[in-house]
């Protein structure tokens, strides 16, 4: 479905997602409905394990959903293949991660230029674009430094510059201030707000930082995989595991992979463990 000015830039309907750790199901999203208009500065708020990151990942095509619909810029991102999603992200979506996630063997300038080159721009043009965006995020003088030679705040600015360098229509930021001190965090929020207003780029940010929530043009609260704006915690419907996490039989291949898989705990598992115990 082609995008037009009146249609939402992100359209999510009845989105379900369940994680499995061994044979234990962990429902992450329980029928999310959400629409974002072009140019919004939306913050997803909620405790750890509420489903914020999962929702962002699905919108960004990094993860698939079990059920539901997720249209981004009119395209059904859930129906795309891996390569198609990569291309779609490159053209339309910028990412800012909690842990900055810069390519550590490239300088700040090269990190930003990398995505431009992926888009087909020449190396020279890409480096010029990188310089421009590094100046925009006020670290133009640090372009030749490698990530390990930058502070957390500086790295996050490089990440923002990298996200903006491809001139995406949407920027997805997952806990962008979580690893920053409050002053640096506030500066980053101001920067993102300024870019949102000057460029009209849509921001979808997951965060439980009060400063970020305060900056939002719209705040969406998530709890246990539900949007809880219209409910309070008591009236929230109970989670139906049967609906969200239908019983599945693992294939022999999956069992084998699971048996040999290195036991390395992810943020998500840590979060889920924390939320189950709290």
């Amino acid at each position: 479905m082609p995008e037009d000015n009146r249609s939402p830039i992100i359209h999510i309907r009845d989105l379900h997602k369940c994680y499995w750790v061994g044979s234990m199901p962990y429902p992450a999203l329980n029928g999310i409905d959400l629409e974002l208009q072009n140019g919004e500065f939306v913050v997803l708020a909620g405790r750890s394990g509420s489903g914020k990151s999962t929702l962002l990942n699905i919108v960004g095509g990094l993860e698939s959903a079990d059920r539901g619909e997720a249209r981004v810029l009119g395209e059904d991102i859930l129906k795309m293949g891996n390569s198609q999603r990569s291309g779609f992200r490159l053209a339309n979506i910028g990412f800012v991660f909690q842990a900055y996630n810069l390519i550590r063997v490239l300088s700040a300038r090269e990190n930003v230029a990398y995505v431009c080159q992926l888009q087909g721009k020449s190396k020279q043009e890409s480096l010029e674009i990188a310089n421009h965006w590094l100046h925009e995020v006020e670290i133009g003088h640090l372009g030749y430094r490698r990530p390990d030679q930058l502070s957390g705040g500086q790295q996050q600015r490089v990440a923002v510059a990298r996200a903006l360098a491809t001139e995406p229509k949407i920027i997805l930021a997952d806990e962008p201030t979580a690893n920053l001190d409050s002053t640096t965090g506030r500066h980053l929020i101001e920067l993102m707000q300024r870019l949102n207003q000057s460029l009209g780029t849509t921001f979808l940010i997951s965060s439980h930082d009060p400063d970020v929530k305060q900056a939002a043009s719209r705040l969406i609260k998530l709890s246990d995989g539900f949007i809880v704006n219209s409910w309070d915690e008591e009236t929230k419907p109970p989670v139906s595991l049967a609906v969200t996490c239908p019983i599945r039989n693992r294939s022999f291949g999956e069992r084998l992979r699971h048996f040999f898989k290195p036991r390395r705990r992810t943020d998500q598992q840590t979060k889920q463990r924390t939320s189950r115990h709290s």
Binding site: S53, N57, G60, L62, E63, N82, S83, S86, G87, R89, L90, A91, F95, F97, N101, L102, I103, R104, V105, L106, Y114, V115, Q117, L118, Q119, G120, K121, S122, K123, S126, R162, T166, P262, R264, R265, T266, D267, Q268, Q269, T270
Partner: protein, 414 residues
């Protein structure tokens, strides 16, 4: 959207990744260097002693190529002789691959010294020409080599002389048949004892001069063998083909050295196969080590690769980058290992590895107790090819695995 990230960018990224992870890179490089150096050295030792064995065999008796009258090798009958050897000898100066040739008569007979007798292989040769073809003159450990014009000189193999109890200057009676079947005998004088190291030769050889033998056997100019020495083993096939083209196969049989002693040929083939098995095992060990290192590297870099895919890098480009990394690492390690091995081979080439303490083990099959490693072009190509295949195999699996990475899970890794 066509990415402008060319191959060079991925090579640069791969190089930076390797430099950045110095410890891992160093360990892998050392593994590669050690593996390839071992592989190359083993190969050089194998080639060295096989080559020595071939040379010793060829120079001890057979030459690279022999031309006989049709059927002689099977019949060993003097009636199957080359009546006009000069018709063949004229080719000898035509081919630059030939560095020496001689004519011989071979027949079986009996040698007797004061009452004791033993069966012998009587071989008559031109004393001067023979020195261009074989090293028999250098194998005379006691006494002297055949003297031109001295038709009563006789040399015996060491074991023959021992069995007969013959000493230098002893009268030795040789008995055999003329081509006509007539039994004849003649007195010779023992002038030297030959010790080739090949038991079957030392046990049977009775060597006399060709001129005297032709008169004794009434064979005029006829001979049974024309023995040719090539510049190198590798030229045997070329010469064989040339003579096959020139000489009628109805009249002559042309036999390369491999056919003259099937047992030696089998032993060489076995040694070659055994060498290949050892090379295969070493390659397998190297490959396993590299694969392990690459998989650990992949595991450590899941997050970084996840980020690259998340920001829009196509999975096939991740595949290429990791493959470059593996190939680059293996290539550099292989080159360094190869250089180390070449250096060792060069250092050992002249002096060789002296195994004289185990000399008894080298008495058979024309082996020398001092092994001179040598790296042949074939072996170098084999190693190069094996390294490339190992590089690709060790690189492809982790690279393919990276393309199947769950991006969201990779990004969650702390």
């Amino acid at each position: 959207m066509v990415s402008r990230l060319g191959i060079l960018t991925y090579v640069a990224l791969a190089v930076r990744n390797l430099i950045r992870n110095r410890r891992r890179t160093t360990i892998t490089l050392l593994t590669m260097m050690f593996g390839i150096a071992t592989l190359t050295l083993l190969s050089a030792l194998n080639d060295g002693w096989l080559s020595q064995m071939k040379t010793n065999f060829i120079l001890s008796f057979t030459g690279h190529l022999q031309i006989h009258a049709k059927g002689f090798e099977a019949s060993q009958n003097l009636r199957d002789n080359i009546a006009d050897p000069d018709a063949i000898s004229r080719y000898m100066d035509t081919y630059p691959e030939i560095i020496g040739w001689t004519q011989r008569i071979r027949t079986s007979g009996l040698a007797s010294v004061s009452g004791s007798s033993t069966g012998v292989q009587i071989m008559a040769t031109d004393p001067e020409q023979e020195t261009w073809v074989t090293s028999m003159d250098q194998n005379v450990k006691t006494g002297v080599w055949l003297r031109p014009g001295m038709n009563k000189d006789l040399l015996l193999g060491k074991t023959v002389a021992q069995n007969l109890g013959a000493k230098l200057s002893d009268r030795v009676i040789l008995m055999t048949q003329r081509p006509s079947g007539e039994m004849i005998s003649e007195v010779y004088y023992l002038r030297g004892i030959i010790e080739t190291g090949a038991p079957q030769i030392d046990r049977t050889l009775a060597l006399i001069s060709l001129d005297g033998a032709q008169q004794w056997l009434q064979m005029q100019q006829a001979v049974t063998d024309i023995v040719i020495r090539a510049d190198h083993h590798d030229q045997t096939d070329t010469l064989y083909r040339l003579f096959v083209q020139q000489l009628s196969e109805q009249v002559y049989e042309i036999m390369p050295w491999q056919e003259l002693d099937p047992m030696v040929r089998q032993w060489l083939e076995f040694s070659d196969a055994y060498g290949l098995i050892i090379l295969f095992v070493v390659i397998l060990l190297v490959l396993t080590e590299i694969l392990n290192t690459m998989l650990i590297s992949l595991h450590e870099r899941q997050k970084e690769l996840g980020v690259m895919i998340a920001i829009g890098t196509q999975p096939h480009r991740i595949f290429l980058m990791l493959l470059f990394e593996a190939v680059l690492l293996i290539f550099v390690g292989a080159v360094l290992g190869y250089l180390i091995a070449l250096l060792v081979v060069m250092l050992l080439a002249d002096g060789g590895i002296d195994l004289t303490d185990y000399a008894n083990a080298f008495e058979f099959f024309y082996m020398d107790p001092v092994i001179h490693p040598q790296l042949t072009r074939d072996s170098a190509l084999k190693i190069l090819l094996a390294t490339l295949v190992a590089a690709l195999l060790a690189g492809i699996y982790p690279a393919w695995k990276a393309t199947r990475l769950s991006v969201s899970q990779a990004l969650r890794i702390q």
